[in-house]
Symmetry: C2
Subunit: 232 residues, 2 copies
């Protein structure tokens, strides 16, 4: 945990709002771990004894069905926390977690956390806020799957990666397209085709680099009821 790591931890919704000494009391001497692509962190059904802060890299959370199909329910990056909730519901992870790029994680022990919560009730409010943040993200994901077309979902995904709010920009896709596709509830082939449909809207793709001419145009496309192929 160097100063940069602290900065990242303090940028999370969970640890960002509490007094410094409370954060220190929780994180104290928790361990930073390094992982390479493909490593499993935990599997759904395992007993949950800790949660994580992403210091660097990307981690995916997903469900697996009896026949092996995967449904990605979230992909987390630097400055995000995940699995805070699992420790409070029967102590079992409801999802599996896998590192999808080389990563550094901060693992926080559940036992000590519970103890701190009892001493520091405000900490509980932060945990609740963080949980609610995840709830909201899931609700939005459900909304998107139910109401948006594939091209619209990708457009939204791209916009969330944009560092700016208007104009144009070039962004780098953070991980494999197959994972992006799964995250958005579609197949890789559909992702390709859907990106193609965004071309008339000023989106060009070259390998993992995506250039967006006009953010406003995409926003409008997402909110429109039209589904992406009118007008040529």
């Amino acid at each position: 945990m160097d100063p940069t790591d602290w900065q990242i931890v303090r940028s999370t919704p969970l640890f960002g709002t509490m007094p410094q000494e409370v954060a220190v009391s929780v994180i104290g001497n928790q361990t930073v771990t390094v992982h390479r692509k493909g490593e499993m962190l935990f599997q759904q059904g395992e007993s949950a004894n800790s949660f994580f802060v992403v210091l660097d890299g990307w981690v995916k959370l997903y469900r697996v069905t009896p026949d092996g199909a995967e449904a990605v329910v979230g992909v987390f990056r630097r400055g995000e926390t995940f699995a805070e909730g699992a420790m409070f519901i029967g102590g079992r992870y409801p999802v599996s977690a896998e590192v999808v790029t080389s990563s550094r994680l901060l693992r926080i022990d559940g036992q000590t956390l519970r103890r701190r919560i009892r001493e520091q009730p405000d900490l509980a409010l932060s945990m609740l806020a963080s949980s609610s943040y995840h709830l909201k993200a899931l609700v939005e994901q459900i909304e998107h799957i139910k109401l948006l077309s594939a091209p619209q979902r990708i457009a939204d995904f791209l916009l969330r990666l944009c560092p700016v709010r208007e104009g144009g920009c070039t962004i780098e896709l953070p991980y494999e397209k197959a994972l992006i596709a799964n995250r958005l509830g579609m197949k890789p082939e559909s992702l390709s085709r859907a990106l193609g449909k965004l071309r008339p809207l000023g989106v060009s793709v070259d390998r993992e680099n995506v250039t967006i001419v006009d953010i406003a145009l995409l926003k409008q496309f997402i909110e429109s009821t039209e589904r992406g192929d009118e007008g040529f």
Copy 2:
């Protein structure tokens, strides 16, 4: 709040595990309200000052898009709580809530709750458990939409309504089929068709009454990779 109401409150994941006096301190003299079908409880974006316990009836939570489309993200019944999380994330409801049958609700004020949490940290752990319960439900919903066909999703929906674990049973659909369809991420027409496809699996429908010959058969169908129309 008569004794029956108390029994319901104490059956929730949230209030079920805490000591009686803590529950009393929170619920104390909170108000029970009566609502008729179609009443709005709150709208997404409104400031969130309270959450609810369903004493009787059904309440739907949903998101609305700019163009008016609805995506139902949850339907709650007697003995369930909802919107606990909203008060902790910027104080705004991320969804809208509407009563879908005549209902009686217990409304719990957020201010007093926060105060109680500071006095009673264990209460925070209960809140976290309850939040996590909702998280898990949303994750499962995403899994289902992404990986199951329409007939499989209804089969799952029916199984969750079954009062027994094996054999057969007859159940009554709790609310309108249009709402069931939306909750499951499909159109009413698809719901009809999908129920039709379950007929060969021992599911017969007569108005709002559904008879299931063999629960095991449906479970198997949900877990099978086949999507429902083979073998006739």
